[in-house]
């Protein structure tokens, strides 16, 4: 495509024309292809650095990054480029800032990629807890295509430098901010699109699937809980199992426990910070004493806090997990009971893994941004309507 065509594709009003959407998509596709290879030096260095600073095992981080990068295929990138080119949005922002969160390496990559393909200059302010991923990724992009790489800048400063954060917000047409609700509140400005605190869950109707698949489902859900040590908005907190008498749910809890035990060998758990460990202790003791007192609760626990599964036969609410492979498995007699339990957080559910019965219909009816199969929770597609879709609609237009 010629420069003129590229400019035309971006629509009128563009005065900072960089490479075309297609060329950026191509450069990104090559970057992702490199990064999907575990031998990629920059990826390897990034993973080593993040594992060291965050206390993750390298193996867990390798699997987590694999899952994160999986959807960024050549075809998916071309497809989003085509969508962007087809939707000639005149008010697309030309500069987009990102204020990244540090809980999950690479969180925000979907929006960064869409921003770049949509022709924006992208400036990413990384978190103190994780300043590595985007810096290394941007360097790889620049090495493969200097013009594409010039569209992205990765910067870092501490939370205390609010003057620099204000400057970033002031200098960008749009800013995408990730973080907990307090952080988001502090960044509230008219041009800031906020991705605040979210959780994810699973809804399973085991009775409607082949019994031979139960172990697969348990394995995949356990993997969803283990990736990124369960610290992201896509991480699995609670599994609801439609199980009128609770037996199928207990079976799944048992098998998930076994799966988490196996995963602990192949993906050794992270070093758990003291406060998080104390929260896990609280979850365990609450479940333990409810069980001792005769309540319909069962605690499955790995040694040294490697994993925890709390099975509840009659749940009454959603249970937010402290992370680090701590999962609640809850029997619900029907979808009405599921709706009742999830109501307090229904607006904060980002992803839901579904299996069998009407679970997928239920999740889609709820308007959950990402509905997927077990094992895919950390791999939302490039056109994921993250946080409801405001950003992707603004940058890429409708499908």
């Amino acid at each position: 495509m010629s420069a003129n065509a590229a400019s035309a594709a971006r629509g009128p009003g563009t005065d900072d024309a960089g490479p075309s959407a297609e060329r950026i998509a191509d450069a990104l596709a090559r970057t992702f292809a490199l990064w999907r290879d575990r031998n990629c030096v920059r990826r390897r260095n990034a993973i080593a650095a993040i594992a060291d600073s965050a206390g993750y095992s390298v193996a867990t981080l390798e699997h987590s990054i694999d899952a994160l990068l999986k959807p960024f295929t050549n075809d998916a990138l071309k497809s989003i480029a085509a969508r962007i080119s087809a939707n000639r949005l005149i008010d697309r922002p030309k500069t987009v800032g990102f204020i990244a969160a540090g809980n999950v390496a690479g969180a925000g990559i979907h929006e960064v990629v869409i921003g770049l393909i949509a022709g924006a200059r992208v400036r990413i302010k990384t978190a103190s807890a994780e300043p590595v991923f985007f810096a290394e990724f941007a360097r790889t992009l620049a090495e493969l295509d200097g013009d594409a790489g010039a569209r992205i800048e990765v910067v870092h400063w501490g939370r205390a430098r609010t003057d620099l954060t204000d400057e970033l917000i002031g200098n960008c047409e749009r800013v995408v901010a990730y973080g907990d609700d307090a952080t988001i509140e502090s960044l509230h400005r008219p041009n800031v699109i906020a991705f605040g605190s979210r959780v994810s869950a699973a809804l399973v109707a085991l009775n409607s699937i082949d019994p031979s698949r139960i172990d697969d489902v348990a394995d995949m859900l356990a993997r969803d809980a283990a990736l990124f040590e369960q610290l992201g908005c896509l991480s699995l907190h609670q599994v609801f199992v439609v199980s009128p008498d609770g037996s199928a749910a207990r079976e799944l809890a048992t098998r998930m426990s076994a799966a988490l035990e196996r995963i602990a060998r192949s993906m050794p758990p992270a070093r758990i910070p003291l406060r998080d460990a104390a929260e896990i202790r609280g979850v365990r003791e609450r479940a333990r004493w409810r069980a001792i007192a005769g309540e319909p609760v069962e605690l499955f626990e790995g040694r040294d806090f490697e994993w925890t599964v709390v099975f509840e036969r009659r749940p009454d609410s959603f249970k937010v997990s402290p992370g680090f492979r701590t999962v609640h498995v809850s029997a619900v007699r029907d979808l009405a009971k599921f709706r009742e339990c999830i109501a307090p957080v229904s607006a904060q559910i980002e992803a839901m893994a579904v299996v069998g019965g009407d679970c997928e219909i239920e999740a889609r009816t709820m308007g959950i941004p990402y509905v997927c199969a077990p094992g895919e929770m950390q791999s939302p597609p490039l056109d994921w309507r993250h946080g409801g879709g405001e950003f992707i609609d603004m940058m890429a237009g409708s499908r």
């Binding site: 540090g102 979210r198 104390a278 929260e279 003791e285 333990r288 004493w289 307090p344």
Partner: protein, 367 residues
């Protein structure tokens, strides 16, 4: 001598060298007489014969009191037993913990003896202003019991309970304090931090100041609980001085919980010789209580000064369970305790954390 009498004797005449042996006897008694506790210990593979030190005694989480009857068998039906309830949550979703105290006189002895050391070391009787309901109005509150015992033990006969279940009567409290001021009579103010914060707020907004007589003092407890904007300890001390003329060393924060019959108090220049107002405040347990900070994963005691989950062995809990693990973090330095507050996970970025979701569940056990 029964185990109860042994504990009572220890409270009246503590012998530090005898603590360990008595603690192990108490543990054995509790293992034998509390079915739920026995089940818990057996579940952890711990039998009394194998326990060689108090640090090896299995501690129950304070949340256990919500779900299990952790008192010697039959205690809840005993005529003279007292039942104290945790204060629950603002939205009432969580059930309340129940501490069944089979021998309230031991609780009283423990509370009074340490209050005498920490809040009334000058052995002075004085007017008492209760900013929390007294036991007659709120029999299920352990704080109410303690305040009523204080009025009996340390009061001069002039006292006011300026709070009901529904509200704190700040106007009545100020009128009472003004009366004490006029008579130059020292007063001890006792209540929750939220209640004294309301008192400060009213005094501040009305611009009035009460200059209490020298020797006046304040005991607040409960920390952030019940406050929309939590008042920090340093602010309580400053406000007490500014609005009531209470000296910093006489403002003493208590750390206690319904599940424990003993309490900890700030060490200050008033109750600990050699301390100054500028030193960081640590809390002092009574001699019949052992405090450790535990590793949340292994439950092993941390080294002196290292942070862990605060865990108590309270001899005064002889009729229930003495080894209680809280949900608070803190450290222990040469027997003194730094309380850091409720454990809450690290910031989670875009992921929802427990603390954000269940703010109503925080600090429910601390009264």
């Amino acid at each position: 001598m029964s185990i109860y009498e042994q504990v009572l004797t220890f409270i009246h005449r503590p012998e530090p060298g005898a603590f360990e042996r008595l603690a192990l006897d108490v543990f054995r008694h509790q293992f034998e007489t509390i079915a739920m506790y026995r089940r818990y210990c057996e579940g952890r593979g711990v039998l009394p014969g194998a326990v060689q030190s108090v640090d090896e005694v299995p501690a129950v989480s304070n949340v256990a009191f919500k779900y299990a009857e952790l008192a010697i068998d039959g205690a809840s039906r005993a005529a003279d037993a007292a039942v104290f309830l945790t204060s629950g949550t603002t939205q009432g979703r969580e059930r309340r913990g129940r501490h069944i105290v089979a021998r309230p006189e031991i609780y009283r002895a423990s509370a009074i003896a340490h209050l005498r050391t920490m809040l009334f070391p000058d052995a002075r009787r004085m007017a008492i202003l209760a900013m929390h309901p007294t036991a007659d109005a709120m029999p299920e509150s352990s704080l109410s019991a303690m305040i009523s015992w204080s009025i009996e033990e340390f009061g001069s006969g002039t006292h006011l309970a300026a709070a009901s279940r529904e509200r704190v009567d700040v106007a009545a409290a100020i009128a009472f304090l003004a009366g004490c001021e006029a008579r130059r009579e020292p007063v001890c103010i006792m209540g929750t931090t939220a209640a004294v914060a309301a008192l400060f707020s009213e005094l501040g907004s009305s611009g009035s100041k009460v200059r209490l007589a020298a020797g006046s003092r304040m005991m607040d407890t409960g920390g952030a609980k019940g406050q929309a904007v939590p008042m920090q300890a340093i602010e309580v001390i400053a406000q007490a001085g500014e609005t009531l003329a209470i000296a910093p060393a006489m403002v003493i924060n208590e750390y206690g919980m319904t599940e424990l019959c003993s309490q900890l108090y700030d060490a200050t220049a008033f109750n600990c010789a050699g301390l100054s107002d500028s030193q960081e405040r640590l809390k002092i347990p009574p001699p019949w209580m052992r405090v450790t900070a535990r590793d949340p994963v292994t439950l092993q005691p941390m080294a002196d000064g290292e942070v862990g989950i605060l865990t108590f062995f309270d001899l005064a809990n002889v009729g229930s369970v003495s080894a209680v693990m809280t949900e608070d973090l803190g450290s222990v330095e040469r027997g003194r305790v730094r309380v850091l507050g409720r454990a809450a996970g690290e910031a989670r970025g875009c992921a929802l954390g427990i603390g954000q979701f269940s703010a109503t569940e925080t600090a429910e056990a601390v009264r």
